[in-house]
Amino acid sequence: MSSATIINNSRLGGRFFRLSLRWKCGGVLPGQFVMLRVSNSLDPFLRRPFGIYDFSGDVLDILYKVVGKGTGMLSTLAPGTDVDILGPLGNGFPPAGKGKNPIMVAGGIGIAPFYLFAGEVKEGKPSLFYGAKGRDEVALLKDFKSRGLKLNIRVSTEDGSIGRKGLVTDILKERLGEDSVVYACGPAGMLKEVSNIARKRGVKCYVSLERAMACGIGVCLGCAVKTRKHPPASAYRMVCSDGPVFNGEEIDWGCF
């Protein structure tokens, strides 16, 4: 609902882009998101949600993948263009707590919210396990590596072109310790699997969920996910206002 000006909007490889916006806000939490209007017309009709990749004072960065009309249009916007922005929205990742080692598990573009989070981890030995389809996605790790974080990075690719061949959940199964707290963002199938692995080991697991959104502020009740809560409490929670980060154990994965 405020206006931001594009400073940079460039392709990182494949269908991945990084957008930098000049935008003032009171501050953001890692794991929060914003809603952008990618056009001044009514097409596409609704705003599009994007996780916050980085924020410093008055510059907001977003990492996005072109998957359809809205993201396609976003990728054509030139520096200097003003875009309408609503946010920061949602809850963000809770800290791991004393004596805990945070493990970030990301799939594809799901890497986006961990850049800010990794920078704010103050305690423990943080790791990032990244599952990618191939080279284009692995390129998204560049910033993480150049940042000088004490971050243990492990990569798996489906085609084996870089890192270990296979799924990121294989890495997690091997390296998940009891003193870990897991944070996951990526496709729903991956989140479900990560959540199950963590639950079996008795480890806390936070997942960042996605749903098609209309309002982004908890009023349309459109972005519902089902939880294991029973009546009288409603089983549904809103991804935009109760999430996007949830305790994995609470989610009824049948709704994806």
Binding site: D84, A212, A224
Partner: protein, 307 residues
Amino acid sequence: MGVFLKPDTSVKLGRLELKNPVMTASGTFGYALEFEPYMDVERLGAVVLKGLSLKPRDGNPPPRSCETPCGMLNSIGLQNVGVEAFIKEKLPRLKRLKTRVVANIFGETIIEYAEVARRLDSADGVDAVEVNISCPNVKKGGLSFGSDPSGAAKVVTAVRKATKLHVMTKLSPNVTDIRVMVRAVEDAGTDSISLINTIPGMAIDVERRRAVLSTVTGGLSGPAIRPIAVRMVWEAAKAATVPIVGIGGIVNARDALEFIMAGATAVEIGTANFLDPASAIAVVHGIEEYMRKNGVRTIKEITGAVN
């Protein structure tokens, strides 16, 4: 000169006076308080709250909404906290708002409709009830009353008896002749009529070969439905003796003025609240500006300009 005076935007829905004709549509404005960070809610003519039922409702399974050309489909299924929790938890904070508060009510049975109205009547802070007999997204109640004149009349009669509050009846576009519905609810004692609710619609995900919404069909809203809504408001206004509230795809002041010129006394802004949470305020400003520019002193001067 009239053009230099502040135009009088106030309107009257029967005995209920609004400071301007801009209201919000139920289900698109939460319980109004959610919008306080984005606008001065008190500048609105009225706020209409999310539909309330006697008992809390879980709503429909996801996916519940999807984007369509110039609009969206929803099948929320009236998820809400129930009238008692509303009165306890939300109403105290709504009471202090210096704008009209309209509670939208829903029941699976006629008795439930009346009971919700009765409880709101005895709770202080609500100015009117909007009776939703037009929700396409619930199995029982809603549209099953709103699609036939005798069912609609029964609900309105029962609500009328249960409350002294202003009764506004919300009609569905999914009827053969809206004028028949208008007369039926008027005869049953409604104080005003709002229309339209969403239009039943459907979208299919061709990759997965299944409906996008869990309920298969949902309600279409947004600018895509506006011409249908304007036409129906125009028909309803000509048939009605009570004031009409126009709803459907309003995004800006010009859209709102279409409804007013078609005969609506007031309007409700729905889906546009999702595009920009401050939409409704922009409509208030836009109407004022239009009046100033065109030397219109009162809304009444242009109400039903097209007949």
